[in-house]
């Protein structure tokens, strides 16, 4: 996937034990540029339903857009788009979003001249990031965002 080397990230350790997996929304789409807009709309509907604060909504949209764009640009060969899978797991204290693909995994991309901004940007926006590359191909970016009360600084 992405053009950024994983070691450039500063992973944020999860401080909580993983909760029982419960995905409220799972969306699977062909990894095509126009489908990034579908993901953004779904996030908008999710955020409105959950009454998330505007600042958090923008953070979610930006980070997930970057993750999906990475998949579209780097995960699959040109003209052969595989799937991008977005899982949304809302909790009382946080929202976890996982963007996964079954493409060529994380590594230096051959179609860019250097590291991109996508993954560092995600790391800067999200409260925790977990980046994994599956041994048999594919990558998985799990982003966790703390839910903040509207009108209160995080």
């Amino acid at each position: 996937m992405g053009s950024s080397a994983p070691q450039q990230l500063r992973p944020v350790e999860m401080t909580e034990r993983p909760e029982t997996p419960r995905t409220d929304v799972k969306l699977t789409l062909p990894a095509r540029p126009e489908n990034v807009a579908v993901v953004r709309h779904v996030l908008g509907a999710f955020a409105e339903s959950m009454r998330l604060p505007d600042e958090l909504i923008e953070d979610l949209r930006l980070a997930v857009t970057e993750a999906c764009t990475n998949v579209v640009r780097h995960a699959y060969p040109d003209g052969d788009p595989g799937a991008v899978e977005i899982s949304i797991e809302p909790r009382e204290e946080r929202v976890r979003i996982v963007v996964a693909d079954s493409g060529r995994g994380i590594g230096t991309s051959t179609d860019t001249s250097g590291p991109g901004l996508g993954l560092p940007l995600i790391a800067a926006i999200a409260d925790a990031v977990d980046l994994q590359s599956a041994p048999d191909g594919g990558s998985r970016v799990a982003m966790t965002f703390r839910r903040r009360d509207p009108g209160r600084a995080a």
């Binding site: 409220d24 929304v25 969306l27 699977t28 062909p30 579908v38 799937a83």
Partner: protein, 134 residues
Amino acid sequence: MTSGPADNDAPTTVSIAAGPLVGPILRRVVGMLAARADLPLDRLDDAVLVAGLIAARAPAHVLHGTVDVAFEPGPRTLSLRVGPLRPGGGDALVVDAAVPGVGNVIEQLADELRVSPEGEREYLLVRLEYAGAS
């Protein structure tokens, strides 16, 4: 308008836990895909209305606590495959979508509506298209 899906594209599916997120998310996805399929505005509205009805009624008939929908967009057509549903759930979902004084909205709006049994489960297939297509 963006290019349509290629035959070798990965499938488009959504799975939503039965609850308050089903309606908002399903309507949004259907609206986007209907627009992508180049359905005219009146049929896009129809598609979103059908999505809203499915979202409202399907949770009572699903098998595993999630409303699962697979989409097949085409040129001026959009097909939805809703399920797995419990046995009898497909017909029950359609019957539940009847509106007093209006009748069955899904039946009236869909160009194709059928229940597809598969073993101990079944799926509701709904297709909307633009009559002026072709």
